[in-house]
Every structure is written in structure tokens, then in C-alpha cells.
């Protein structure tokens, strides 16, 4: 599903050029649950942004669901992104001005799904995530755990093939954190590919495979268990 070849990402200011990613080669298959770990500034989020089609690499190739996308324009990336990828962020990134229902509805809205269908699917997801009773609330009225459930609901409502989670439990207490990890595991078991950036060893335990990054390089790959397609 994901294959990168000699992926590079450089950031240049007037005086300094920083290499965030250097010759990163990874491959992730459909149905995998992969954790990306490493110290701060090692390039985890940069990699996740590129994998999530939010950013382009400076060099190298990136194959996503059979397309070489490293030279895609923002518009092409957006089209591919909205149909295939769901995002879960550390800080939830819900839109404060929208209710729970509207936040979850947003991806379907941008996909051009008809109103009745949107309502049906959003209700299903909210029901499934146990936040149905909060559908008319605004994000600020929810607890952190509930907000992250809503964020997960939003990530999966369009039934993406891939979910990218950037420190999904970073802002949560351990009880709510575990809850979210369980949710991700369930999704993975249902067939969704999950790539998660994390600092937490506990969370990485849920993944099939851990990719360690250091100074923009992949240093090790731990395969925790045999993965069967």
C-alpha cells in the first residue's frame, strides 16, 4: 500500500538547510498496524505528513495505493487524500465552531456525499464510537477522551483505507488513552491500515511493527509478530 524509495525531505531557510528525512525506505502493506517512534526532531511527523499526502518529499519516490505521488500537486494530493486517508491528531484538531455531528460530517461533505447518506453514515459512526448522545455538542463541551473519539469518528467516517495517527494519546490520561488505542486496534482488525507516530512504548505495543527513526534515518524495524495478509 505504501512504499517509499530514498525519500528525502529538506527544509531550507536563507542560511541553513536542514535534512528532516534522509533516504527513507519503508514499505507498509494493507491491513498492517505500524508505529513510528523516535526522539523529538527525528522526522516522525515529517514522514507522517508525506505519507498522509500533506507534504511532498524533496527527493525520492513515494508509491501510495499504486500511484507514484511524490510530484503530485496539492489538488491531486487532496483528491487522493480525501478518498483514502483518515487523520487522528494529538490535539484532536476538531473545528470549534462545528458541532460533533458537523465535524464528523465534514469529510463526507468534501467528498460530495448526499445529505441523507451523510446523516446516515455519521449517525452510524457516532453510535459505534459511543458519542451519539453528544452529537449536538461543540468540542469544548466534551472531555479529552470524547474529543478524540469524535476525531477518530471523523477519521473513519469516509471509510479510508489508511488511518494516520499522530500521537493519538498524547493529550489524554491513561484511561482515555487506552480506550483510543483499543479503538484503533479494532479498526485495524476490521481491515484498516494504521500508521501511528508515538512516543509511548505502551502504545507501540499495540502495533504489529515499529519503525525507529533517528536524525531522519530509519534505524531499526522491529517486527513484533508475524503479519499475515
Amino acid at each position: 500500500m505504501i512504499k517509499t524509495m530514498n525519500l528525502k525531505r529538506m527544509y531550507a531557510t536563507d542560511e541553513v538547510e536542514t535534512t528532516a528525512l534522509n533516504n527513507v525506505n519503508i514499505e507498509i502493506n494493507e491491513g498492517e498496524f505500524v508505529a513510528i517512534m523516535g526522539p523529538s526532531g527525528c522526522g516522525k511527523s515529517t514522514l507522517l505528513n508525506i505519507l498522509g499526502l500533506l507534504d511532498n518529499p524533496s527527493d525520492g519516490e513515494y508509491h501510495f495505493v499504486g500511484h507514484e505521488v511524490s510530484k503530485y500537486t496539492e489538488r491531486q494530493r487532496a483528491n487522493l487524500r480525501k478518498a483514502n486517508i483518515g487523520f487522528v491528531f494529538q490535539s484532536f484538531n476538531l473545528i470549534d465552531e462545528l458541532t460533533v455531528f458537523e465535524n464528523v460530517e465534514l469529510p463526507l461533505f468534501y467528498l460530495g456525499v448526499a445529505s441523507a447518506e451523510r446523516e446516515k453514515r455519521v449517525n452510524e459512526v457516532l453510535e459505534h464510537m459511543g458519542v451519539m448522545h453528544r452529537k449536538s455538542h461543540f468540542p469544548q463541551q466534551l472531555s479529552g477522551g470524547q474529543q478524540q473519539r469524535v476525531a477518530v469518528s471523523r477519521a473513519i467516517v469516509a471509510k479510508p483505507k489508511l488511518i494516520l495517527a499522530d500521537e493519538p494519546t498524547g493529550n489524554l490520561d491513561s484511561a482515555h488513552g487506552s480506550e483510543v488505542m483499543k479503538l484503533l486496534t479494532q479498526l485495524n482488525e476490521a481491515g484498516t491500515t494504521i500508521v501511528m507516530v508515538t512516543h509511548s512504548t505502551h502504545d507501540s505495543e499495540f502495533a504489529h511493527r515499529i519503525i525507529h527513526l533517528f536524525d531522519g534515518h530509519v534505524v531499526t524495524e522491529n517486527i513484533k509478530e508475524q503479519f499475515h495478509v
Binding site: S45, N49, A83, D96, L98, E102, F109
Partner: protein
């Protein structure tokens, strides 16, 4: 999808109340100015458009080769001659104002005696060409039969109450005298008509007047306005050439003798009101310059308000960047985001325009009072008004919304979600600063302009006009006299009796008074020995021996009319006293050189006996005119120098004497200095409006500045916190937060000064007597804007600087 945009836009507006209030208030202020100015401009451009034949109606004007000036006054022979010779002329109508102020009285109700200022004599075709509908009477007979008249509904009510006026008679004593039978009532003339009248009398009656019976004067006695209706779609240039040919042919001998020529034009009716430079008596006129000025002010004010929106939206982009990032991550296309932000802009604009519509309703009466307009037309019912509202809203939405929409939608989700994006780029900050500079530059131009206008008005009101008009009361002589009575003798009696009133210190009689122009002009003023074609324009006035003393005219050469040596003798050249301008224009080197010299004016030979020091007979707008005074005891205007103690009693005494000697004449008086100052009424209105708009632009600019400073201090809270921890003083922090804006306001000033100087120099050119633009005007405008801006900025800066640094650091 649209509903969703609307919903989120609405929630955004409600969530950030202060920001929305600044935006909506600022925009609505700008829009209110714009709408009021739109109404005013529509009103000014709408003059005479109620006429059904509007596109085909023209006024005939004449540009002389010698003076180069254009006038609308013609001889009575012109209309018929054009009608006969030029096939494009469908019909013509001559209009002759009553140059006196006629007294009209009702035979039935002797107490109903009024002076009427709006009486015209005209041809029957007038009512076919123009749309002044009759509410009773017959269009076919109106103005046809001699001794009949039409009057307006208001005039009918004034003289006849609720009675039916048709068939009733009124006595008219004016340019002509007679009894006229009402055979029609006109609907009141609309306020947006350049011709304003209450009475129309048949042209045939006027042409019976002895002066008009002389066929040799048919072309020369130019007291008539001539209007023509041309065939639709004719070539005006061609018609003008034909008109010119007709006039040149008929007056061939005159032009050959004076070695002059004339160009005759058909001036479209749409140009008549606004082109105030073409003189026509009693017609009201506007000014293109004023209209253009207000259009510019309206557009600038609106732009200033739109700039607020643009600046505040882009300044708070940090606020919105996260939202944009999320939406993009989830799959929003850029155009969808642009649309979303445009909907927000549209909502703000609609809110502002609704507020503006309400304030326009409230402010209209104030504008009417300030600008002297009569905006009573119900614009709300007119489609073009709503068209303009829609156009202004759309333009506002796009102008204010497009740039922020593109800026906000351009954020890269990867960076903004990490908190890196959304900060302003260098270019964006420069643009924002540029826009603030523009706002304040505009405010400074208006503010400095206001100061210059006031300075100029102060100057003209206090300048030495070479005459003393203090405590001078003017009384017009009678219009209605008993059969066989001699006006001159009766006026003498009046003066004798008035002299008995102790409060009256001096009395004089003359044909003209300061501030009212002259009754008699000629463009043929020259030394008798000079070539007739070298004549220049000069005015003539008849005064008695007390005139110069009463008005403090200073005699600088020769003798005055007080001297018994100066008497007009039949058959001898008329003795005249000229002013300095006349002496110069007559090409004498110095006043004494002109004494006893013979000169010609309007075919009459005169001898200069004295020279008065120059004076300003009219407002400072006009240069000093060449004036010749001739001695007479027959002037019809009285000027009385009165003691200001117990003025009420004095006026009552004068009224008693006047009405005893001249029964049947309304007594009317005014103070000459007040009438003189009235010439500046338009300038005063202009100054007031200028000031109002200056205040508004500063207000709108400050609203924007307030918003900007709020955001910038919010963004720098951490910096402020760190600096405070490190020991920064409150003063240095306030300085830190305000110096950028102070710099911008200063830059605005520097930009505004040359513009102000240039624009106001143009305005001052309208005055023959004007001030030099002083440096303090710029210092004042600069200091004032800086002070106001500093006040606006400091409130926020001080608040931020006083905040607990821990609070500030916790924000991050």
C-alpha cells in the same frame, strides 16, 4: 453545502463579537457615507429627468469671441429664427424671468399681497416641451390668451385658499403690470427642476412692453432664455453650427462693426443644472466639481472601511489557520475554502449594509440640512437604488473577501497544524502596513482639507473688502404705485420721513447694493479714443451723493458726488466715478491720468470725475470688477445706517413709515452684511461636510487600528511576558507595541501632505482672493491623527504591558 458555509460564517461572527462589531460598524459607517453620497449624486444627476422629452431638450447658449464666456441669455428673436431656419428644431420656448421682484395681490382678498420671486413669462410650447403638468385648466389654451396666467398649486392655496382659482384674477406689478385671470393650475414644480416657478404668464403680454416692441432690439435685448426641442438623435455639433449661422446672418452688421463673432450651442438639458458656470438668471445650479468631489470621498470612505476588513481578516489568520489546516487535511479543495471565506465576507457586508440602510434613513435629514439638498425622493422604492446597494455589497464582498480568502486558503496543512503556518509573511505584513498608511493618508487629506477650507472661509469673512457694511439695513423701493404717482418723488418723501427716525444715522439710495451683483453690465467699456473691438466688461451702478460716505468708499482721485460740481447735464457726457480696476482695465497708468478723460460704455459716453479705491462688491470667489458709478436721485434701493440700540423699535418705525407712504407693497428688509455673508453659504456647507467626512474616515481608520493592535498585542503576549520577566518597564513595552503604528500614521501623513496641497490648491483656485496654504495646517492634521491613533493603540498596549507576565507566558 452553502447552508453549511452560512452556518459556520454566522457562528464565527457571533463567536468573535468584538472583531465582528469592528468590522460591521466600520463597514456600515463607510456604506452609510456611500449611500448618502449615492443619494446626493443621484439627486444632482437626476435634475430635470422627470421631463418626458428630457433627451431631446436643449438650452441655447452663446459663447462670445471677445469675452470667451458662455451665457444663456439671448434676444427674443432667436427662438423663432432658429425654428424657421433649422429643420432639426421641433419646437422652441422662450422664458423670461421677471427681473423685478413683482408684487402680486388678490382683488378679492386685499390682505393677500406678496412679493413673488419666481415668475416667468413664456410661450405656450413650454408646456408641450417640458413636463410640468396641469392639475386643472386646458393645455391647448394655457399661455395662449393674453391676460391669463398659470399658477402652482401652492400659489393657488396661498391666494385663494380652498376656493377654485380658475377664472379668478390677480394683480401683477412687476416687469409688466396688469390684471391676470387664472386659467390653469400647475402641479408644484419638483425640487429637482433647474427652473423653479410659481407663476407662468403669456410671452405675448411681455412682448407688448415698449422696450420689446422695437424690432432693432429683437436680437440685442438679451433678457430671454431660449429652449429648443430637437428631433431625437440629431448631431448636436451640426445643429450648433446651424444655430451659429442663423445668428451670424441675422446680426451680421453688429459683428462686422464690433469685429467680433459668436458661437451658438445647444446645451443638453442634462448639463444645464450641473454646469453652473453658464450664467442664467434665477435658474438654480449645481456643480460638477462638488459632485465629483463627493463621489471620490464616498469611494475613499468605503475603501477605508473595506481595508479594515482585509487587515483584520489577514491579521487574525493565525486564528483561522488551524481550521484551514484541518479542513484541507480532511479533503477541502482550495476553491471550497475561498467560497467559505467569501460567504463570511458577504455576511459581514450584508450585516453592514442593513445597518447602513437604517442609519441612512436617520442621517438623511441631517445631510439635507448640512448640504442644503432636498433628498426627499423615496429611493427605497427605486430599482436603481437597490441595484446600487447590490453592487456595493457585491463589490464590498469581493474587495474585502477575496484577498483574505486567498491568503487563508493558501496555508499548508502540514505546517499550520504544527503551529508553524498562519503567521504573516513579510509581504502580507507590508501590504497590511501599506493599507493602514493609505487609511491614515486619506484621513489626513480630509482633515487638513477641512482646516484649509475653514482657514479660507475665515479669511474671506474677515478680509478688508474696501467697504463698511456694518449696521447697514437695506430696504427695496416699492413695486406698486398709485396711478400717476412718481416713484422718484415718493422715494424722496420716504427718505425725508426716515431721516426723522433718530436711530437712522445715514440714508442713501442706489440701483445696486453690495453682495447682490449689478443690474447693468456691458462688454463695451473702453476709452473713447480706443478701437471699439478692444472693449472690456464693466458694470454700471447709479448712486446718490450719500452712498460713498455710508459705505466708507475711499476717493483716491478727483471729486465725489457729494461735490456740487458734479452734475449730469443733458447732452453732455455722463460724469462717472470709476474704481481702480476700471481704471486699470481702461489702460490708464494711474488714477489721476484718467480724470476728465472720455470713455464709452454700452454706447454711452462718460467722463471720469473721480476714482474710488478698489472694493469687493461680490464674494471673494469673483475677482474685482470694473465698476462705474453715475450720479442719480432715482435709485430704487435704500440703504440705512442704523444705530444698533433698540433695533426692533427702529425696524418697526421704518415699517410704519414705509407702509404709510407705499400701501399695497409688502415691507421687506435685510442687513447688507448678512446678505453679503450669504454668498459663502455653499462654502460653509461644503466645509461642514468636509469636516463630517474627515471625522468619519478617522473613526473608521481608528476602528481598524484598534482591531489590528488587539491582534498584534495578543500575538506578542509571550514576548511581552518574557521581556517583563527580564525587567522591561511598562513604558518601554508600550513603546514596543505602539511604535510600528506610530510609524505607519507618520508615513500616512507624509504621503497625504503633497496630495492635500495639490487638491486644496485646486479648490482655492475657485477664489479670486485666497490664503496661502500654511504649514501649521499640516502640523495640526498630523498631530491630531497621531494623537488619536496613539490613544487608540495605547489602550491595548498598556493593557498588555500591565498584564501579569505569568498570565502572558501561560498563554503559550
Amino acid at each position: 453545502m452553502f447552508r453549511s458555509y452560512l452556518k459556520i460564517a454566522l457562528r464565527n461572527l457571533l463567536k468573535r463579537k468584538v472583531y465582528s462589531a469592528i468590522n460591521i460598524t466600520g463597514l456600515s459607517l463607510g456604506l452609510t457615507c456611500c449611500l448618502l453620497i449615492f443619494e446626493y449624486v443621484t439627486f444632482e444627476y437626476g435634475f430635470d429627468r422627470f421631463n418626458e422629452n428630457f433627451p431631446d431638450l436643449y438650452r441655447v447658449t452663446e459663447t462670445g469671441s471677445r469675452s470667451g464666456g458662455t451665457e444663456a441669455l439671448e434676444g427674443y428673436a432667436l427662438g423663432p429664427a432658429l425654428d424657421e431656419a433649422v429643420p432639426e428644431v421641433v419646437r422652441f420656448a422662450r422664458l423670461h424671468p421677471d427681473y423685478n421682484i413683482p408684487v402680486i395681490s388678490s382683488a378679492e382678498h386685499p390682505e393677500k399681497v406678496f412679493e413673488e420671486k419666481s415668475v416667468y413669462y413664456t410661450d405656450p410650447a413650454f408646456l408641450q416641451m417640458f413636463t410640468y403638468p396641469l392639475v386643472s385648466g386646458d393645455l391647448r389654451t394655457a399661455l395662449v390668451e393674453s391676460g391669463t396666467m398659470l399658477l402652482s398649486e401652492s400659489a393657488a392655496r396661498k391666494y385663494f385658499g380652498t376656493d377654485n382659482p380658475i377664472g379668478k384674477t390677480l394683480n401683477v406689478t412687476g416687469w409688466i403690470k396688469g390684471v391676470f385671470r387664472v386659467n390653469g393650475v400647475l402641479r408644484d414644480v419638483p425640487t429637482n427642476s433647474h427652473l423653479q416657478f410659481d407663476f407662468l404668464l403669456p410671452m405675448t403680454d411681455l412682448l407688448q412692453k415698449s422696450g420689446y416692441k422695437d424690432p432693432t432690439l429683437a436680437w440685442h435685448w438679451s433678457n430671454f432664455l431660449t429652449y429648443v426641442q430637437l428631433q431625437p438623435g440629431v448631431n448636436i455639433g451640426e445643429v450648433g453650427r446651424k444655430f451659429t449661422n442663423v445668428v451670424m446672418t441675422h446680426r451680421k452688421e453688429h459683428f462686422e462693426r464690433t469685429k467680433t463673432s459668436v458661437r451658438v450651442n445647444a446645451q443638453p438639458l442634462r448639463d444645464v443644472y450641473l454646469n453652473g458656470s453658464i450664467f442664467a438668471p434665477k435658474a438654480i445650479s449645481g456643480s460638477y466639481r462638488t459632485v465629483y468631489f463627493f463621489i471620490v470621498v464616498g469611494v475613499v470612505t468605503l475603501l477605508i472601511a473595506l481595508v479594515n476588513y482585509v487587515n483584520l481578516s489577514t491579521a487574525r489568520s493565525l486564528d483561522r489557520a488551524r481550521e484551514v489546516g484541518i479542513r484541507k487535511t480532511i479533503g477541502a479543495q482550495r476553491k471550497q475554502l475561498v467560497l467559505q471565506f467569501l460567504v463570511e465576507s458577504a455576511l459581514t457586508n450584508i450585516g453592514a449594509i442593513l445597518l447602513a440602510l437604517v442609519s441612512t434613513e436617520f442621517l438623511r435629514p441631517m445631510l439635507n440640512q448640512l448640504a442644503g439638498t432636498q433628498l426627499t425622493i423615496d429611493l427605497l422604492s427605486r430599482p436603481e437604488f437597490w441595484g446600487a446597494v447590490a453592487a456595493i455589497s457585491l463589490a464590498g464582498t469581493l474587495l474585502a473577501g477575496l484577498y483574505p480568502a486567498f491568503v487563508l486558503s493558501s496555508f499548508l496543512p502540514a505546517s499550520v497544524l504544527k503551529g508553524k503556518g498562519g503567521t504573516s509573511s513579510f509581504l502580507r505584513i507590508r501590504l497590511r502596513q501599506g493599507l493602514v498608511v493609505f487609511q491614515f493618508a486619506a484621513a489626513v487629506v480630509l482633515l487638513a482639507g477641512t482646516a484649509i477650507v475653514h482657514d479660507q472661509l475665515n479669511y474671506v469673512r474677515h478680509m478688508d473688502i474696501g467697504m463698511n457694511l456694518n449696521r447697514v439695513l437695506a430696504v427695496r423701493g416699492p413695486t406698486v404705485l398709485p396711478e400717476g404717482a412718481q416713484k422718484t418723488i415718493m422715494m424722496g418723501t420716504l427718505m425725508e420721513q426716515l431721516r426723522q427716525i433718530p436711530a437712522i444715522e445715514q440714508i442713501t439710495r442706489s440701483s445696486a447694493l453690495p453682495g447682490e451683483g449689478f443690474n447693468w453690465y456691458s462688454s463695451g467699456l473702453r476709452q473713447s479714443t480706443a478701437d471699439p473691438s478692444t472693449g472690456v466688461r464693466g458694470a454700471m451702478a447709479w448712486i446718490d451723493s450719500g452712498f460713498a460716505e455710508l459705505f466708507d468708499l475711499e476717493l483716491i482721485a478727483g471729486v465725489g458726488f457729494e461735490s456740487n460740481a458734479v452734475r449730469g447735464v443733458e447732452g453732455q457726457p455722463t460724469p462717472v466715478i470709476a474704481n481702480e480696476t476700471a481704471i486699470r482695465n481702461l489702460r490708464f497708468d494711474f488714477p489721476e491720468q484718467s480724470l476728465n478723460q472720455l470713455i464709452h460704455i454700452g454706447g454711452e459716453q462718460c467722463r471720469i470725475v473721480g476714482v474710488y479705491k478698489d472694493f469687493n462688491w461680490s464674494s471673494a470667489h469673483s475677482p474685482r470688477e470694473a465698476v462705474l458709478f453715475t450720479p442719480t436721485q432715482a435709485g430704487s434701493k435704500l440703504a440705512l445706517k442704523v444705530n444698533s440700540i433698540n433695533l426692533g423699535q427702529t425696524i418697526a418705525d421704518i415699517r410704519r413709515v414705509y407702509t404709510t407712504i407705499f400701501p399695497g407693497n409688502p415691507f421687506d428688509y435685510y442687513f447688507v452684511d448678512e446678505r453679503f455673508d450669504e454668498q459663502y453659504r455653499n462654502d460653509e456647507r461644503f466645509a461642514t461636510l468636509f469636516g463630517v467626512f474627515a471625522i468619519l474616515t478617522i473613526l473608521i481608520g481608528c476602528l481598524g487600528l484598534f482591531g489590528l493592535v488587539s491582534f498584534s498585542t495578543e500575538q506578542r503576549l509571550k514576548e511581552v511576558g518574557v521581556r517583563k520577566v527580564l525587567g522591561a518597564s511598562i513604558t518601554s513595552l508600550v513603546g514596543l507595541l505602539t511604535k510600528e503604528f506610530v510609524f505607519l500614521v507618520c508615513a500616512g501623513n507624509v504621503l497625504a501632505w503633497p496630495v492635500t496641497y495639490h487638491v486644496m490648491s485646486l479648490w482655492l483656485e475657485d477664489f479670486a482672493f485666497r490664503i496661502e496654504i500654511a504649514w501649521w495646517v499640516f502640523a495640526l492634521a498630523g498631530g491630531l491623527t497621531l494623537f488619536i491613533a496613539l490613544l487608540t493603540v495605547s489602550v491595548q498596549a498598556v493593557k498588555a504591558a500591565l498584564a501579569n507576565p505569568v498570565e502572558a507566558l501561560r498563554y503559550e
